[in-house]
Amino acid sequence: MFSRGIRNILLTPFLIWAGLFIFIPLIFIVWYGVTDYDGSFSLKHMGLIFEHGFWDAFELSISLAIISTLICLLMAYPLCLILTERQRDNTTIISLLFILPLWMNSLLSTMAWQTILEGNGIINQLMRLLGMPALQMINTPGAIVLGMVYNYLPYMVLPLYIALTKIDRRILEAARDLGANYWQTFTKIILPLSIPGAISGITMVFIPALTTFVISALLGGGKLLLIGNIIEQEFTFQYDWHVGCALSVILMIFIVLNMLLTTYFEKSHEEEDFK
């Protein structure tokens, strides 16, 4: 689009920015992660991930994050499809209404979920009114997943919605004119064109879901320990930079590997398009 010169000028602000606010903190973290208290190189803090049951917490965090990301994707996709298919004028307002809950403070809305799910909470009081047995909802893994889906669903909706609205209607009409049924149009056109948006959405949901600790404390009753809780404990209660950073580095490596996998996936997909 531009000449190299302009491109490089445009990149400079970000490079300066990244150097200061991304790399320096990153170097801090990695350095603390791979050194011992006396400053010598040591991987023993990284090894802690296999002790004290931390690995179980890590596995639990990953599975809960994957489940909530999937649920977000499955909930958001039909939602965005419906919104884009409807009359365009109305969709702006309706879609904004699906983003609006983001504006409530997440701590307050998570506490509101407590009020809804608790043993004497709103749902159970309704159940009692209807003469049905009370449900155990709070302090379960399901409640944590619900909290994650609630807090992060808008991050999935936004990029997906944009990706879908940007699909040229004329392509869809052309496909239909050429005899493609709905399912074919969907799998051959809509789905491939929405993948970049979906990947952005997955990233924005998966990462915070993996590192959260507030949701698990409030809705999981503190009985389920996530990796985010452990890192938070190490930094706050322990003020132990070495262990906290080592665990953070492991988490980062895991996420970066994941992202590389998704970009690889995206890449092979793009190439397919050109064939």
């Binding site: 917490a57 407590q114 608790e118 302090n139 009753g221 503190g222 809780n229 706050t236 209660f237």
Partner: protein, 354 residues
Amino acid sequence: MKKFLMLLLVGCLALGIAGCGSGGGDKKEKVVYVYSWGDYLDPETLKIFEKETGIHVILDEYDTNESMYPRVAEGAVHYDVICPSDYMIQKLISNDLIQPLDFTKLPDAKKYIGEEFFKQAESFDPENKYSVPYCWGTVGIIYDKTKVTDPVDSWNILWNEKYAGQILMQDSARDALMIPLKLMGRSLNETDENYLQQAKAMLVKQKPLVQAYVVDEVKDKLINSEAAMGVVFSGEALIILEENPNMAFAIPKEGTNFWIDGWVITKDAQNVDNAHKFIDFMCRPDIAVMNFDYLGYSTPNIGVKDLEENETYKNSPIAFPSPEVYSGQETYKYLGNKMDEYYNKLWMEVKVDK
């Protein structure tokens, strides 16, 4: 659209400049930087202080001792006065982050803060050089009289299977391990790893009975009768009792934690004189009673009970317990980095256990 964007930008800039103006602060003014627990002071008292002394109070708040520590240790802001808890005061002393107080400048502290509280504070501040007690309390069991039929006088009841799923425990290493340690007749500052491992095993055994490990949300849950019993601080108990008349509070016979939050002055304080004036002001009975009414946490100030007008508070054995309730109780000490880590790891092992 363009107009709208322009308006937005202008609005941003205006707000930004306004924000800078209010955030900058005037250096020539007489100020004192106070860093305390959130909502730990009646805002009215600060107004009175500013009016009487002309010293402007810049108040910052934290939610836990632990989120306060890094900001003070790294010198992020030069706070003058802080209000940490017992073990944290000791940690600040041992890391040379606070300075000895000049008690000649604190006449009201000497006059109105009860002797026994200074005595208790010796466990973390050996010569009473660094801190003046501000709030104190104990830890006990609050229980629903309609649900709990057994007498509540021992920590043992938290292991009673009859109440499975009805028990709320504190979510912090020291507060959780304190209970089995006391049950075993050990100190809550235990450092023997054998006993600590036993204490951990007891907590693991108890875990299936526990409804949730909670921190601040314990109040809301017990006010709504979510659980039959919970481990709470006495200040929280007072609030819960006021809102939910089915509840009762008991301090187990095996002993409990006697906690004290105190005022200290940081090493790199820039306004040492003003800081002393502030601490002394907080010790004045008429101010202490305002803070007590606002907070509901027990006060070490001996002048407060006479000034207290609210009869239920005045006669509450939780707000003003008789000395035998707290005499002989232990206060947390800072056990050093290694031991802190050990406690923490034990607690995480309990929490991760399935």
